[in-house]
């Protein structure tokens, strides 16, 4: 499987918790592998912050956008490509 390099952006409480605004991660193109590899940099807690191990998928309350499109709207298996930007937001709102 080919290796792709993506940029992860963290926002709001995730940014303040991990004291990181963005990081570059290499992965096999799946979100899970991206999250695992990000956790090698950020710490293991990151996995549980964004991933639901029981359900085997990204946590439902997290807002994850690949190149600005929410993965829930893409309605397909996500395959990341080189230089994709993955924005990770905790639940938030305003108005």
């Amino acid at each position: 499987m080919s290796v792709v390099s993506v940029k992860i952006l963290l926002f709001a409480t995730l940014r303040s918790k991990y004291k990181t605004r963005e990081l570059a991660v290499e992965c096999d193109g799946t979100l899970l592998n991206m999250i695992e590899n990000a956790s090698k940099i950020l710490g293991l807690e990151f996995i549980d912050d964004v991933y639901d191990r029981k359900e085997g998928k990204v946590r439902d309350d997290m807002i994850i956008m690949v190149n600005g499109r929410n993965i829930k709207d893409l309605k397909r298996e996500i395959t990341l490509k080189d230089n994709d930007v993955v924005a990770v937001f905790p639940p938030l709102a305003g108005g």
């Binding site: 709001a12 807002i63 929410n70 905790p90 938030l92 305003g94 108005g95």
Partner: protein, 615 residues
């Protein structure tokens, strides 16, 4: 009178300086709740009377003595334990900015304290010849001379009037110089930094020479079923505290946390909506605001969320020792649409909007429109009188706010709002407004439901009439695709109707990120003693929205006005995740009218009968 209400409405006539106390009508309250709904009902009655007297609604002058201004609370307002019920709604027959109905909502303490002073609402008719203010203390109301207050800014007016009243729970709602000078985007500001900003109601107050209303009192609204209320109140307050959005996100970051996510979705209007991607969004984001400017948070009365920001700019040309905000919409209007990346300047400009009494959304958007007009060479330089209105010019932003409030130099033109400004300079298409009201911070090419909501909103380009950003971007209560037009009409209709319920309760719309219609039905039932179901409250909301529509139809607004600026209908989004998209309004609007039972933006007779609206 059912519980939850104070049972009295104060009617003030500024022509005759007379004050009249009337009972709050149970029949009206049962059909229209309170707040916005009750006010819409009263405004419609005025309009009918005017018509009978031969005054055409279309010819009514928003700044004439015939306009009527209503400050209204609802059965939830000020009830201890009713979540986030520190709000009130203001309405006017006509807005000077839009020519449509005037409508705005504000937090702080004024709403509950108006009730504690003994009244559910204050209705202001006529106009005074000299400046006055209204004092309501423990059920006693009095008009007093405001000669020495005229010319004073909002902060000074609040401070002085608070000191003049000897009582508990004092709150002041007032206008600043912008309202006195009849700037069309002047707002009403209460408790220093909370504004009923939209649709120029500050100018209506200014035209009536009503500088302020100060309220104080200790009478608490009664609750019909205290035991049931305590249970449902606890459940709702717990939900607000444990919900990730209302319990964590909003308290820590405030509303400006939206800057980055809306920008990531490609829907943060930049340079007067030329695109939806702001390359400098991070610099004006909620994260940056929290890191560099935030000193503490402030809650409105009775609110466990506390989204209000207390901020300061520590040094530099825009230094400011203590301010509040800016909110997401203000950051965007003053900083995003204008392409200003210096958050110091945005905080300062926002502070001046509060101090001078201006709606930050319309102010920022009008400045952005002027910047585009200027950069395209449409404004003769002598008109600008040295005001260097170019995108990104922070100093010009702050200066423009001042000039607008005092209507000096180019401020005279800015004070008219973007619609008239762009018409004057021959390019009406550059005003990013609907029905004359500047739209807030969401480009509908990147979230199409918002386009339908803006277009069909009775008060004009408004986000909080039906906030479909919630499902489209935030995934609350469920995620829907922002780039699809299909299925949006039903969301817009339900959100618009339910928002009428919230604005008539009156409590904060932000509760709806955690509470649903069932919670509202139970809260309202326990407070009033009525047995309200979810369907019933939604029908009340629909009734309010339709009666409001009947009013604006009388002003000549119909389907032709339920539209958007050309840019959003015809210019594809140039970049970002929504690249290539336009709003696809027509498709959604057709479905929406069907759902509403409207033809060309006008409710059918059958619809009005079904909603038991008596004309």
């Amino acid at each position: 009178m059912p519980r939850g209400y104070m049972g009295k409405i104060l009617r003030v006539n500024l022509n005759t300086k007379s004050l009249k106390v009337e009972p709050t009508s149970e029949e009206v309250a049962r059909k229209y709740l309170g707040g916005k709904g009750y006010a819409v009902y009263l405004l419609y009655k005025y309009l009918k009377e005017y018509e009978k007297a031969g005054i055409s609604p279309k010819d009514m002058d928003a700044l004439g003595s015939e306009n009527v201004l209503i400050f209204a609370t609802g059965p939830g307002t000020g009830v201890p334990g009713f979540p986030s019920s520190g709000r009130y709604h203001v309405m006017a027959l006509k807005s000077p900015l839009t020519g449509s109905i005037g409508s705005a909502n504000s937090g702080g303490e004024f709403g509950p304290f108006l009730k504690f002073s003994g009244f559910d609402a204050v209705v202001v008719e006529g106009a005074s010849e000299t400046p006055v203010y209204l004092a309501i203390v423990n059920g006693e109301a009095e008009l007093r001379d405001a000669g020495s207050l005229w010319g004073k800014n909002v902060f000074d007016t609040c401070r002085i009037l608070r000191n003049r009243v000897n009582g508990k729970n004092i709150s002041v709602a007032c206008i600043g110089p912008a309202g006195e000078n009849l700037a069309y985007m002047a707002g009403i500001v209460n408790d220093e930094h909370r504004a009923a900003g939209r649709t120029g109601l500050g100018a209506v107050m200014g035209s009536k020479k009503l500088k302020a209303i100060v309220v104080s009192g200790e009478e608490k609204p009664p609750v019909a079923k205290p035991k049931e209320f305590a249970e449902v109140s606890k459940r709702c307050l717990d939900a607000l505290k444990t919900n990730a959005v209302t319990g964590v996100g909003l308290p820590i970051y405030g509303t400006a946390i939206l800057i980055n996510i809306i920008n990531t979705a490609g829907g943060l209007p930049y340079k007067n909506w030329q695109t939806g991607v702001n390359p400098d969004a991070e610099k004006i984001s909620g994260e940056t605001l929290a890191e560099k400017y935030l000193t503490s948070q402030r809650s409105c009365w009775g609110c466990p969320i506390g989204c209000g920001r207390v901020t300061s700019v520590k040094s530099g040309p825009f230094q400011i020792l203590a301010s509040e905000g800016p909110e997401y919409e203000s950051v965007w209007a003053l900083g995003g649409s204008t392409a200003i990346k210096d958050l110091d300047a945005v905080v300062k400009a926002n502070h001046y909007c509060d101090e001078l009494g201006l709606d930050s959304i319309s102010m920022g958007s009008t400045i952005a429109a002027a910047m585009e007009l200027n950069e395209r060479g449409y404004i003769p330089q002598e008109d600008l009188q040295g005001l260097d209105l170019r995108f990104g010019n922070a100093a010009a932003l702050v200066e423009a706010v001042w000039r607008t409030a005092y209507k000096v130099g180019f401020g005279k033109y800015l004070a008219l709002g973007s619609k008239r400004l762009c018409e004057i300079y021959g390019h009406p298409e550059l005003s990013m407004s609907v029905k004359g009201l500047e739209m807030p911070a969401y480009d509908p090419r990147a979230m199409k439901g918002m386009g339908l909501n803006y277009a069909t909103s009775n008060r004009g380009g408004c986000h909080v009439t039906g906030y479909t950003v919630s499902p489209e971007i935030l995934g609350i209560p469920e995620k829907i695709d922002p780039l699809k037009a299909e299925g949006k009409a039903v969301w817009v209709k339900i959100f618009q109707d339910f928002t009428c319920v919230v604005n008539s309760t009156v409590n904060c719309l932000f509760t709806t990120f955690a509470l649903g219609m069932k919670d509202y039905a139970e809260l309202l039932s326990a407070v009033t003693g009525w047995d309200l179901t979810e369907d019933e409250i939604l029908k009340i909301g629909e009734r309010i929205y339709n009666l409001e529509r009947v009013i604006i139809n009388k002003y000549g607004y119909d389907g032709k006005d339920d539209t958007l600026p050309k840019r959003l209908l015809e210019e594809p989004m140039p970049e970002g995740p929504a690249k290539g998209h336009i709003t696809e309004l027509e498709k959604m609007r057709e479905e929406y009218y069907k759902l509403r039972g409207w033809i060309n933006g006008v409710p059918t007779k059958e619809k009005l009968v079904e909603l038991e609206i008596e004309l």
